[in-house]
């Protein structure tokens, strides 16, 4: 009798843990952040250029800088961020459950995620696309030549679905081997298990340069098979916090547009007569109070991480190991797609 009930009881206990683990609605995230004194930011376990810890445990990357900028704007200190590493399966539950205030984890904005998971996507901080990495010795020059090939990728990502959609549409049979962790998936590829590896193109360059036994033995195929607009996201139901998470990156983009940099921000604060610059450095009209912040919110964000262009250059651009071109991620008036609504 006792024995027969034990599994049922165990199951009930697990459900109870799940249900009580989800705290009641968090209410005002901004108040919670101020009270706690830190912004809890969900990031990857380590994707170069976006969010990766160094040997001392200091995080850097484009997504990391977004969180630091928000901490600078809200709390006055870019260091007041708790980075919470999450794998791709954990990330959404962590945000839903209120474990983190913002998820900046190279996450693609899709209809399903936006409309059915209880999230709001903020500003797109990187326009990515999914690509393929293959060993040079296979002499493959196009993804269409991958008939009957085995492709390694990570589970729980848009990549897995895209690759299936793409080859189904082309009527090319391929096999995908999916691994739970990003690391296991690329290690399997570099060990020769698969003939191709697929993930967002931004990560492919980093993988080839950092993880390949010999980078020159691998090539990135020209095809990009999907649109991957990467944006930080927040929980629904707190429009005030949503506005902050949206407008801090917008301000950084506008700072690039109007020539405000980490280096010249102090000077512009003292001397600039340009109203657009004045608004960004906190000497024009007070936009901060509309967000529930003070007048210097964007000035501190720019001082902390620089403008969008500087963030890009330092983390994924020419000054980084990835050495990615600006491409689609250039400003709208320079031929790219990066466009922020006006900060005014």
């Amino acid at each position: 009798m006792k024995n027969r009930f034990r599994p049922a009881l165990a199951a009930a206990a697990t459900i109870a843990a799940l249900a009580t683990a989800a705290p009641a609605l968090a209410g005002k995230t901004l108040d919670a952040v101020k009270q706690r004194g830190t912004v809890k930011c969900g990031v990857t376990n380590g994707v170069a250029g976006f969010s990766a810890p160094d040997t001392q445990g200091n995080w850097s990357g484009l997504d990391v800088d977004t969180c630091r900028a928000i901490a600078a704007a809200v709390l006055g200190d870019p260091k007041k961020v708790d980075f919470v590493p999450l794998n791709s399966q954990q990330r959404f539950s962590a945000l839903q459950a209120g474990e983190i205030d913002i998820l900046a984890r190279n996450t693609t904005w899709t209809l399903t995620r936006d409309a059915s998971l209880g999230f709001n996507f903020t500003t797109i901080t990187y326009y990515d696309g999914q690509g393929f990495l293959v060993p040079k010795k296979l002499k493959v020059t196009s993804a269409r030549q991958l008939k009957n090939a085995t492709i390694c990728t990570q589970s729980g990502t848009t990549n897995e679905k895209n690759v299936s959609d793409y080859f189904r549409a082309q009527n090319i049979p391929v096999k995908t081997v999916v691994f739970e962790s990003f690391e296991a998936s690329f290690k399997a590829f570099f060990s020769g298990r698969c003939q191709a590896f697929t993930t967002d193109a931004s990560a492919l360059a980093g993988l080839r340069n950092k993880e390949a036994p010999n980078p020159d033995d691998y090539v990135i195929l020209p095809e990009l098979i999907s649109k991957e607009p990467l944006a930080p996201l927040v929980r629904r139901g707190d429009d005030e916090w949503f506005a902050i998470a949206k407008w801090v990156p917008n301000a950084l983009i506008e700072a690039e547009e109007f020539g405000v940099t980490q280096a010249n921000a102090d000077d512009l604060k003292a001397n600039s007569k340009d109203p657009a610059q004045q608004r960004l450095v906190g000497t024009g009209e007070d936009l901060g109070k509309l967000l529930g912040l003070d007048k210097d919110w964007s000035f501190r964000a720019i001082k902390a991480v620089g403008n969008y262009g500087e963030m890009f250059e330092r983390n994924v651009g020419p000054k980084s190991v990835l050495k990615l071109p600006r491409g689609s991620n250039n400003l709208w008036n320079k031929g790219g797609l990066i466009y922020a609504p006006p900060v005014r």
Partner: protein
């Protein structure tokens, strides 16, 4: 105590038990309902309706053919079939190997006993996940590249892509019945055709077998040691050979001790098969992970995983208890 009073006592006991069960069920229902309400209030869609939608991802191997245009429920079914596909051979190998090692640990031969003891101590004291990753690493590094497979026999190829063997297949438009042998062929990206054991499958089956065998060995050894020495002496007195003593005298009595513990071991083997997700084998948890990634229904997917493992475990318990009833001493249940 009059018979009327004892009847009232029994009735009271029933009422108390019924109320307790009701309270537990109501409590569980409230907790689940509350969780769903919280999710709904946050704009999270929930429910199992997604199971009928097309999955949109493919599954690399398995007994059940699965195509990306088929619905999610079929993907879960394919994942479940893959869990069974890994667990059943692993259970058989681990019982056979474990029994041999368990007997070996009691062998008079010092070297044999030492090897068996070393095996048990090494395998059961290193976490299974670490063993799986090491196996996967070894397979990935020792075997030749898929583009340069080794031909072991005519039609049998071995590489990082797996072990390919000829397999019966039905012809074009043919029915279920196989019409010819399909031979693996070497292509641009490796061997295709025939039947293939993928490295991921070999990793999980071998890893589970080796790991569980260490525990089975201890269970078997304990079972044998539980048989009183007098029984062995009696067997010797009757002039039975050592193998006969084992088969006729020791094992039937040892099984009474072995079977209940073995049931636990098999249960944990099936549950441990969920670690396959780490080495890329597409079993139930891997399918659920992919589903959570594509539509975010974490609550529902975890509920499915729990229900399936619960059902599998109850089935195994039921089967093993039936077997236990057969080997147990009469009147001892």
């Amino acid at each position: 105590m009059s018979s009327q009073a004892s009847r009232r006592g029994a009735w009271l006991a029933w009422v108390v038990q019924a109320l307790l069960v009701l309270a537990v069920v109501a409590g569980a229902a409230w907790v689940v309902n509350h969780a769903l309400e919280v999710l709904r209030a946050r704009g999270v869609r929930s429910g199992f309706d997604f199971l009928a939608e097309p999955a949109g991802f493919s599954i690399s191997e398995g007994w059940l053919d699965f195509d990306a245009s088929q619905p999610f429920w079929r993907a879960f079914l394919a994942g479940l079939v893959n869990t069974v596909r890994a667990s059943v051979p692993a259970a058989i190998f681990s019982v056979v190997l474990g029994t041999l090692i368990g007997i070996g640990r009691l062998a008079p031969h010092v070297l044999l006993r030492g090897i068996c003891t070393a095996y048990v101590e090494l395998l059961r004291n290193v976490p299974l996940l670490v063993q799986l990753l090491m196996l996967a690493f070894a397979i990935a590094n020792l075997l030749p590249d898929p583009t340069e497979p080794v031909r072991l026999l005519p039609g049998v190829w071995l590489s990082k892509g797996g072990l390919s063997v000829p397999w019966p297949a039905s012809g074009e438009g043919g029915g279920w019945w196989p019409t010819h042998l399909e031979w693996p062929e070497r292509g641009d990206f490796g061997v295709s055709g025939g039947a293939a054991l993928s490295p991921e499958y070999v990793t999980i089956v071998a890893g589970l077998s080796f790991y569980s065998a260490a525990f089975v060995a201890e269970i078997v050894r304990a079972g044998i040691l539980s048989v009183p020495q007098g029984q062995v002496l009696a067997g010797q007195a009757l002039g039975l050979a050592p193998v006969q003593q084992l088969r006729i005298v020791i094992l039937p009595q040892a099984l009474r001790v072995i079977v209940p513990s073995l049931t636990n071991q098999l249960l944990s083997l099936v549950k441990n098969s969920s670690l396959a997700v780490a080495v890329g084998y597409p079993e139930l948890v891997s399918v659920a992970n992919t589903t959570i990634g594509s539509n975010g229904r974490a609550f529902e997917c975890i509920a499915i995983i729990m229900a399936v493992y619960l059902l599998l475990s109850l089935l195994i318990s039921f089967g093993m208890n039936r077997y236990n009833a057969r080997v147990a001493l009469r009147g001892w249940r």
